[in-house]
Subunit: 241 residues, 2 copies
DNA sequence: AACCTAACGTCAACCGTGTTGGCATAAGGG
DNA sequence: CCCTTATGCCAACACGGTTGACGTTAGGTT
């Protein structure tokens, strides 16, 4: 039988829960974000969500087909946050950099949620808007369309991939986080130069470097590569695979 | 109380399970990889593992402290696969490219497993060996040490991040996979040019581009950026953030 | 060769998870 | 004012990780 989930805009009869609150997709997504922040990326469950909203877990199935759909809704909310209030300057390189950093920041601001959503394609409105924006900025570089699309793909996937990776570190439960820091301090910093000479040589630099995100640096390197391929800029237009 | 997990090399008394097989970390990891491939990235469970090995689920706790430790062991096995049989040519750019592609390939060859392990730092032997190898190759570029470490960070994290992202797509259960393909076909390909002109304009190119991995292209762009910063090569040595 | 200890496999149980079918109730259009 | 049905609630199911108690047998010791 078809699942009777009523789309948000068609909702008419709204009955308060036993707690007195009237539910909505917005409220549920906000509660989910709160839960994720407080209990970690595995801390989102139908039961806990019901507890937080003071309603029965099964009630959520009137709003979403399942927990997976809740997660997709959270993802679209994050993309929305990334783009609200931004406007282009017209300089494609600055704009692309700003877009990448904003998207990355929006995800890593909610690491526990980002872990669950970053690698999902939703086709929801905010996602579509983001793609349109990136493409419109990239147009300013004046690349031939096939290359433009390839660069678009590399740029957006690099941004999302780093967001996911960095979010995963930030979202680790405290115990695992301390364990990883301990690995860096005790294992990497004390590797014998007999077996791992190169690691040993730059160990202090590594310890300082690896705590942060590599995204800004990786983004800059990618932008360099794009600049090299802008017509009439560089002569070394190597073919992109 | 301290968990009485005996390290693999200290194992002496080995009793066969009711099925007659004698367990080991190796056997368990192999069974886990098989399970993941067959049942998807959420298909690894202690019970199923017990079923596959014909032993009680709780037996696994004699070998690993919990399912999480099983996952870390799987991750180190994948890194090991990536590097076995590889040797450097001495040309840093070719070697770095080869290393990146091999690591990416090793993970995406086991996408369901990669999803679980890519963003974990284990400090296990194979991981350490991989880091040493990458650093030794990068040494050939002759960058000043602080820059070398920064490039190392960008390179390794970009590789792992793309591996995770691409693995996530490949590991989607069939239903979700078809759903995403449908999103690309029905939503993206038919976006009205009134609201999304740039997407609409390159829609056919997008459909062809987005099915594959952007990693090779992103890697090439990153290598370009590094090349620009090699001493005595380019003049535009922009500062890396 | 006998033995004794602990390593390791097994069993049963606990609690948390997503999800569903049936039921009750009150909201809101007529 | 009433009646339909949207929507919240309840109980139950199958599955998940993990653990504590219990046997049993392998292997070192004597």
């Amino acid at each position: 039988m078809a699942k009777p989930v009523v789309p948000e805009e068609k909702r008419r009869r709204r009955r308060p829960t036993r707690g007195g609150t009237v539910l909505s997709e917005r409220l549920i997504v906000e509660a989910a974000l709160r839960l994720l922040r407080e209990h970690g990326s595995s801390g989102l469950s139908a039961r806990r969500l019901g507890l937080a909203l003071d309603c029965d877990p099964s009630t959520l199935y009137r709003y979403f087909r399942g927990m997976d759909e809740v997660i997709l809704a959270i993802g679209d909310a994050l993309i929305g946050q990334a783009l609200t209030g931004w406007s282009p300057t017209g300089r494609w390189r600055d704009d692309l950099r700003a877009l990448g950093l904003r998207i990355h920041a929006a995800y890593t601001a909610h690491p526990q949620a980002a872990v669950l959503t970053t690698s999902r394609v939703t086709g929801r409105p905010n996602e579509l808007a983001a793609d349109e924006t990136v493409l419109s900025v990239l147009r300013g570089a004046g690349l031939p369309p096939p290359l433009e699309v390839r660069v678009y793909h590399a740029f957006i996937d690099q941004t999302l991939a780093f967001a996911a990776l960095d979010a995963a570190s930030l979202a680790l439960p405290n115990a695992a986080l301390l364990a990883e820091e301990e690995v860096w301090r005790s294992t990497y910093a004390r590797l014998p130069s007999a077996t791992h000479p190169h690691v040993a040589e730059v160990a202090p630099l590594l310890a300082a470097e690896m705590v942060g995100s590599a995204y800004p640096a990786a983004l800059e390197l990618l932008l360099d590569g794009v600049t090299l391929r802008v017509p009439f800029y560089g002569t070394g237009n190597r073919a992109l695979p």
